[in-house]
Assembly symmetry: C2
Homo-oligomer: 491 residues x 2
């Protein structure tokens, strides 16, 4: 099993199930056989460009078929893909390109302006837009029809709440085991169809592309999140699984109105951090099959997910570690008791080998095979995981730990509040105190005093925000994950 | 990924899905939590008996819950299980026990007489019946809550058409990958329930036990094959998948009569060699969801299976190599062209590391990761595998290769013939010629001349049996696989 090899996943799918639909996008759909044929042609174009096995190639991709082709063609070459977040500034992009040792940037023409700006600053790098690629002739270079599960498929930079971002190395094996772990929990149905409206440059979206290949199911790939289009696909495209975060789920429910999803829609996979209880209640009322999940770039997506039979009984929990995976909670290196809060530590074949060119960070984060996530949570008496917060966002006030997510959950349960974020500010007496940022629903009205009174009823004194700022938006990244560190910039 | 570790599968299941039903037997049913509790108790009894990690322990097991407990308890200890075929003679059992270095034999009390006979000949071995085990006190020895996928779970002796049997080593990883490979083809449904009426001392039955744990689905375990009980379980126990060989399938269809299986019964997994076309036609007429498969002990069960969408289009084919697996056909070390017959060669993480204490046999059989199966087949133009025969059963007649299975398929398509077997006998002029053995259906009537005339219409001259023997039964092993070498004993 050491150095486990396997045939290229697209190649194998094109051999096993050539006529099944692989991708459905706004441009149309294609089968595994068609996708494979076009990916091989694209790989031969990359051959002409001199891209070789082991090269680091950065891509600025949109959620579309051409990105899927580029990704699969790079797999055939054996190149490592640096997935760049298309919302980054030029400064941030240049930093990641340099840090990852990328020798080329391949980009969707949508980002031409951004890339033209990059060209001024990095004249060593090669740049090719998708449009330019189609003009390149094909050279029959050797392709990697067999992959080594230990080799890197991608490097993805984590948002990094402090300091510079770190490049998480993800192997084919990480993706493989993540897909298998997920299927052992969610099941795998012949009629399955997974919708990706989360970006493919994040592990949330990329993992869906991988699953499509491994499972042999169609992936509906949408350019961005639009609740109407997602709901349309669920009703009209026979989508059975959608990956979302809670902000997206709220929008989907709003758009859904009084309807219910069709029977065959079987999984709303809900990740991206703590979820307001009120939202879960609403899902229950609408019989939305929510599977709360917990994962991160370092675990190639899900590492814990609530099993279907506990969907209602353990609402708010992210479940238990998936079948091939282990998870524990530690407090000062000692495993916690049920109910006791500590740091979440994970181990398993879907866990990254480390950060690219960051041996110290890697050693600090991964000890004896266990990855210290920096996330905070606890187990209940039955061993179910509840996520509280990111350690790096922890507010320590008068010696007490304050978890912003707990306060946000309370704020979001207020009927007039549409979105909310909490962070800490310095305080002479207590060290830090929490402050709240809220976006009020259209047509609603509430003042600071009322919100504080609402919190006081539901939270211990030291957890109540000292101030409430009324804002037009709450800063979230492309995956709709709350960017707490950006809240203070709003003031 | 090297030395991949995972939590003990039963332990993990008892943690993830404690209240799901794990096994349904004639004695009753039990959940994963109950099974786990009792397996741990049994492991502590083994602790008292001094069984340690790495010990080789032989078992003479029936398909029942106590066997399942013993197997899982031995997993917890980390012992390697020698699965003995309960149809073997004392002589054969003693040989396998000695060859496998087993230090103890644990047996179902059904086999007391057989074991008492063994005791006379091997006084070094410890013997414990299931009844005796329940009286043994428990000692809290260290249990293997974590397993190494590279470590041996079992040794199973192959029927060995020539010479002495060989002990196939099967690791946890072999079982794991076999289960995953199967699920990527058959799917994995929350309502799945797999029926095992094939013996658990064969890989066909053992693999179902492993899948139950890995998938978290109930296994209906039946003591032996009885078509009425199998059909009852399909109709009344909500069984969705059954593993059979063609002789069993014939009986199931006879018992089924004019009924059809319920919609939720989704897979009749049909292994154990070539299948008469007439049987497949009958399945088609009855809308039985047959998945033809190909596998052997050395591949921890299935290695190729027909994908669902090709069930009817490629009737008679065993499909293609499962997702994590590779398969090729070679003739004198050269890969064959479509339609060209050769030896089937396989590679993948479910393939055994080799034969216990048989480095030469291992080296001969597994070359550069590829296992030479000795089985004969060909690919059609679309890459679908068709199995012809076991090489060791090949009849070479006048320089032409004659495949007994091909002749049997023809014989079985005769409406008066219930079962058939073909083998070669020496012939002065042609070297070897085929002879047929047939069992005639009750109330039917046909003579040798008519059968030969029937074959002459359907087969090239050199393939037509020179003689037809009318017999009361066709020799088959516990898995109903035809024992061609025993045919001549019938004359």
């Amino acid at each position: 099993m050491a150095n486990q090899k396997m045939q290229n996943w697209l190649y194998k799918r094109a051999s096993l199930t050539p006529n099944r639909i692989a991708f459905i996008t706004e441009e149309g759909q294609c089968t595994f056989a068609e996708l494979n044929k076009r990916a091989v042609q694209m790989a031969y174009r990359f051959g002409t460009l001199g891209i070789k096995k082991g090269d680091h190639i950065a891509i600025l991709a949109k959620n579309n078929l051409r990105s899927v082709l580029v990704i699969n063609a790079l797999h055939y070459i054996g190149a490592v893909i640096i997935f760049l977040n298309n919302r980054l500034t030029s400064y941030e992009l240049l930093w990641q390109i340099k840090d990852s040792d990328a020798k080329m940037l391949i980009y969707d023409p949508t980002y031409s302006d951004k890339v033209n700006n990059l060209k001024k600053y990095n004249q060593l790098l090669d740049f090719f837009s998708y449009d330019e690629l189609s003009d390149i002739k094909q050279t029959k270079v050797p392709l990697q029809f067999e992959i080594d599960l230990e080799s890197n498929e991608a490097i993805i930079y984590t948002s990094g709440t402090t300091g510079y971002p770190k490049g998480v190395m993800l192997t084919y094996g990480n993706h493989w085991w993540s897909a298998i772990a997920s299927s052992l929990n969610l099941g795998l149905y012949h009629e399955d169809c997974w919708l990706a409206c989360v970006p493919i440059y994040h592990v949330s979206g990329l993992s869906i592309l991988m699953r499509g290949l491994i499972y042999g199911i169609p992936v509906v790939l949408q350019e961005s999140f639009n609740p109407e289009l997602v709901n349309y696909a669920i009703f009209k495209r026979d989508v059975t699984i959608v990956s979302v975060v809670s902000a997206m789920l709220t929008n989907l429910l709003e758009d859904l109105g009084t309807s219910n999803y069709p029977e065959k829609f079987r999984c709303m996979l809900l990740g991206g951090g703590p979820v307001p209880y009120s939202l879960l209640q609403e899902c229950k009322a609408h019989r939305v099959p929510v599977f709360q999940t917990y994962g991160m770039t370092e675990t190639a997506s899900q590492i814990a997910t609530l099993a279907p039979e506990y969907m209602l009984k353990k609402m708010g929990s992210a479940g238990k570690a998936l079948f091939p995976v282990q998870l524990k909670i530690e407090n000062n290196e000692i495993p916690t008791k049920p109910g006791e809060v500590g740091e979440i530590v994970v181990k398993g074949p879907n866990v990254t080998k480390g950060y690219y060119n960051r041996p110290e960070q890697t050693e600090k984060t991964i000890q004896d095979g266990w990855l210290y996530t920096g996330d905070i949570g606890y187990f209940d008496e039955d061993g179910f995981l509840y996520i509280l917060d990111r350690r790096t966002d922890l507010i320590i006030s008068g010696g007490e730990n304050v978890y912003p997510a707990e306060i946000e959950t309370v704020l979001l349960s207020h009927e007039a509040i549409e979105d909310a974020g909490v962070t800490g500010i310095k305080h002479e007496k207590w060290g830090e105190v929490p402050v709240a940022f809220v976006k009020i629903r259209d047509g609603r009205n509430v003042n600071e005093k009322q919100i504080i009174a609402f919190c006081e009823k539901r939270l211990a004194r030291y957890k109540v925000p000292v101030s409430v700022y009324f804002v037009n938006y709450i800063p979230r990244n492309a995956s709709k994950k709350l960017l707490r560190r950006k809240l203070l910039e709003l003031i």
